[in-house]
Each structure stands twice: as structure tokens, then as C-alpha cells.
């Protein structure tokens, strides 16, 4: 952990990240740099620490030691204004959508830009409408989340995150709670974002998707980055027995 010199070209710069829950070490020294416009997928067994890593990046989880910076801004727990500043650059999409159930789809998208960025209401409304159209839900502005399918809810959640114009989007198993026939519509939106140059860091179990959109795939195992490479390297020429085993278990 001696060198923590920030890497100047990385949008997300993680060095020597350690995290324990009680006696259990979940992250045992993660080093990961994500460049601007890069799409990185994190794969691995459940319990390998991949979700925890993602949650550390926007401060939902505290890490014990190491260095984490987004867009050159170091993450400082306990400094609320700095945390909010950082979170404006980091969008997060959750497995369980977490839409605000008392607000319509449009108001879910409008809320943070109005409150945090002080966007005038009409402007926020127009932007929310545009964003909903981008995710294919232009006609659902006034629907409550409970009136939408899971796939539609997740697309609203994506629009809500995009409304803050983040530099990087974190996706935490965003299709795991969806019925199989709804997975495609969400992945399509993510793919569109990737092609438009959004920086994406996703934890996923959709291997075909990871192979297709990733610039880089990270395999996590027991709290460490075990193997990392292009989709071709990771999926076609896995080097370590752990990754080989993980991939072959998926094929069965």
C-alpha cells in the first residue's frame, strides 16, 4: 500500500482498497483504473466482493483503507458536501430499481436535477421527458412505478441516473431481478449508452452481454481481482483455474 499516486488518466482510480464486514475481509486490496468512455464488466461468484466494490465507488459503503478517486476527486467519508459533489459525477443503478414509489416516472427523473442542481421546474420537466424518450418510455411520464413492468422501472432508473449527467455509471446486477423476457430491453439501453461513449462499470451475470459490450472484463475472486483482460482473453483464453472453473460452471 506504499504507492498511492493517483493515475492521471483514469476517470475512476482505485488503489489498494480494503474493506471488511466485521471479521470477514471482503475486499483485500483492489487496484482498478477505469478510463473515460471505457466499458468495464466485473464478473465473479457471489460473495467475491464485486457489489461491495461498486458500492464503495459512490460511498454507499465505507472502505477501511486505500485510495479512491473519481474524476480526480478523492472520496472523503465524513465530508458530506464533498461526498455529494462526488456523487454528482457517479450515477448508480440498482438491482432492485429503487424508484421512489410515491412519484411518477417523470418526477423520479426530475427530482435530483431540481433539488441538487437547482434546475428550474420547466427545464427539469423537459429534460426528464427527453431522457424518458431515450430509454423508450416517452409516453410513461405520469405513470407511477407500480404501474410499470420491472424492465420499464429499471429503464426509468437509468433515465433518473442520467439526469444528473454523471461521468460514470455504476450498474449493480441491474437485470438480476427481472423476468427473463424483460432483460433484453434494459441491456439494449445500456448498450446504447456504451455506444454513445458513456463510461460504464457494471457487475453482471449476463456473460453474453459482457462479452459483447465490454472493453475490459474483470474477474473477481475472494476479494481480489484475479484476472483482467479483453473479453476475448477472459472468455476464450482464461489463465487461472478459478476463472476456468467459474466459466465452465456457467456453461453447464
Amino acid at each position: 500500500m506504499s504507492n498511492t499516486t493517483p493515475s492521471p488518466f483514469a476517470l475512476v482510480d482505485i488503489q489498494g482498497l480494503h474493506k471488511s464486514f466485521g471479521a470477514t475481509q471482503v475486499l483485500k486490496g483492489i487496484d482498478l483504473q477505469v478510463r473515460r468512455k471505457e466499458v468495464v464488466c466485473i464478473i465473479g461468484k457471489s460473495g467475491s466482493g464485486k457489489s461491495t466494490l461498486l458500492r464503495c465507488i459512490n460511498g454507499l459503503e465505507r472502505f477501511d483503507s486505500g485510495h479512491l478517486a473519481v474524476d480526480g476527486q478523492a472520496l472523503q467519508h465524513g465530508n458530506a458536501p464533498a461526498m455529494r459533489e462526488l456523487r454528482q459525477h457517479v450515477g448508480m443503478i440498482f438491482q432492485s430499481f429503487n424508484l421512489f414509489p410515491h412519484l411518477s416516472a417523470g418526477r423520479n427523473v426530475m427530482l435530483a436535477p431540481s433539488l441538487v442542481k437547482g434546475l428550474p421546474k420547466e427545464e427539469a420537466r423537459t429534460r426528464a421527458q427527453t431522457l424518458l424518450e431515450r430509454v423508450g418510455l416517452g409516453d410513461k411520464f405520469d405513470r407511477l412505478p407500480e404501474q410499470l413492468s420491472g424492465g420499464q422501472q429499471q429503464r426509468v432508473a437509468i433515465a433518473r441516473a442520467l439526469a444528473m449527467a454523471p461521468s460514470v455509471l455504476l450498474c449493480d446486477e441491474i437485470t438480476s431481478a427481472l423476468d427473463p423476457e424483460l432483460v433484453g430491453e434494459v441491456l439494449q439501453v445500456v448498450e446504447m449508452l456504451a455506444s454513445e461513449g458513456m463510461t460504464l462499470l457494471m457487475v453482471t451475470h449476463e456473460m453474453a452481454f459482457a462479452r459483447k459490450v465490454s472493453d475490459r472484463v474483470v474477474f473477481m475472486h475472494q476479494g481480489l481481482i484475479h484476472e483482467m483482460g479483453t473479453p476475448d482473453e477472459i472468455f476464450n483464453r482464461p489463465q487461472t483455474p478459478e476463472l476456468q472453473q467459474f466459466l465452465s460452471a456457467l456453461r453447464d
Partner: protein, 214 residues
């Protein structure tokens, strides 16, 4: 011996009942505002503050209201403030209601899924914005029924203000009883009047609860 007509008695009791209602409303409004402030402090993650609020709640839940009334009434006098029973009772019941309402509402806030906090934090909302726009609107739906139910407790609680000399419904009943030597009749009328105040609220609370669960 003077005979009192039933109408005179009822008129006197209804007059006193207005004070019961007024005291309840003051306690409820004051307790509600203060309870909301305490609720905000409770979840604010400021070191020591949440614990302090928890102790405040325990203090009021762990002692009889009657004793709280004595402490406030005689305590204020000891501090040199010459207060009327009305002011002392209002203050005490406000504090009492704030403690209970904070605790009721705490449970409602706790029932909101963690994901709502995480999503709103992730969108860079401040704590106050999270509470105001995300958490409390959802918690309020859960809170309405138990809050209305607690109003019944406050109304009944005001009866204790009679012991520090405040003439509300119970005290009025006592006076009628002393004047007519018919305590059973007096307190029956008083009881019916409390029931007339409280039952509609209990019924409403029940209905709200059923509708929420439906």
C-alpha cells in the same frame, strides 16, 4: 339545598369540554412540530444526538404523565415563572406528545426500505432533501393511522391536567359531583363526553389502518 337542572350541568360540562379539546389540539400541534424536529435529529447521524433523542423518549415513556405534570407545574414555579395551570399543562402535554410521536414516526421511517435511502444518497440529495422529498412522504402513509390513534391518548391524557387545577372536562365533573352529591351521575356524563370525543377518532384510525392494509 340548591337543585341543578340537567341542562345547567350539561352546559357547564360542554363549556369545560372546550378546554379539553383546546388543550388536546395545542398538545397535538406542538407535539407534532417538536416530534418532527426530534425525528429529523434522530436520523441525522450526528454523533450523540440520536442517542439523546432516544433517552428523551425513554424519559417520557418511562414515567407517569401525572408525575410529568407535577414536575413541569412546580418546576416552572421553582424557576420563578408564575405560570397558569393552562400553560403548564400545555407545555407538559406538548413534551409528552412529542416524545411519543417521535417514537411512532421513527418506526414508520424504519419501515421504508434501505434502497430508498441509497438511491436518494446516490443522487446527491442532502439529508434534509432526502427526508422531505423521499422518506417522509412514504413514511407519512404508514404513520397516519397510528398518529390519529395517539390523538386519543392525548385527549384522555388531558384529564390529568385537572390535578394541577386546570378546569377541563374531568375537573368540571369533579365540581359537579361536589355540588350535587351525585358523583356517579357526574362522572357518567363526563365519561360519555370523553367517549364522544375519542370514539370517532378511534373509528377513523381503524378505518385508515384497514384501508392501508387493503
Amino acid at each position: 339545598m340548591v337543585q341543578f337542572a340537567l341542562w345547567d350541568i350539561l352546559g357547564f360540562l360542554v363549556g369545560a369540554m372546550r378546554w379539553t379539546v383546546l388543550l388536546s389540539l395545542i398538545a397535538f400541534a406542538g407535539g407534532g412540530l417538536m416530534g418532527l424536529a426530534l425525528l429529523m435529529l434522530r436520523f441525522a447521524k450526528l454523533p450523540g444526538v440520536g442517542t439523546a433523542v432516544a433517552w428523551y423518549v425513554q424519559l417520557f415513556q418511562g414515567t407517569p404523565l401525572l408525575m410529568q405534570l407535577f414536575l413541569v407545574y412546580f418546576g416552572l414555579a421553582l424557576l420563578g415563572w408564575d405560570t397558569s395551570p393552562m400553560v403548564a399543562a400545555s407545555l407538559c402535554l406538548t413534551l409528552y406528545a412529542s416524545a411519543y410521536l417521535t417514537e411512532i414516526w421513527r418506526g414508520c421511517v424504519m419501515s421504508i426500505p434501505q434502497g430508498q435511502w441509497e438511491a436518494s444518497s446516490g443522487l446527491a440529495l442532502t439529508y434534509a432533501q432526502q427526508m422531505r422529498h423521499v422518506i417522509l412522504p412514504q413514511a407519512a402513509r404508514v404513520a397516519i393511522a397510528p398518529t390519529v390513534g395517539f390523538l386519543v391518548q392525548v385527549i384522555k391524557g388531558t384529564a390529568l391536567a385537572s390535578v394541577i387545577g386546570f378546569v377541563e372536562l374531568t375537573k368540571a365533573g369533579q365540581m359537579i359531583s361536589n355540588a350535587t352529591y351525585q358523583p356517579f351521575m357526574a362522572y357518567t356524563l363526563v365519561g360519555l363526553m370523553y367517549f364522544a370525543l375519542c370514539y370517532p377518532l378511534s373509528w377513523w384510525s381503524q378505518r385508515l389502518e384497514n384501508r392501508r392494509l387493503a
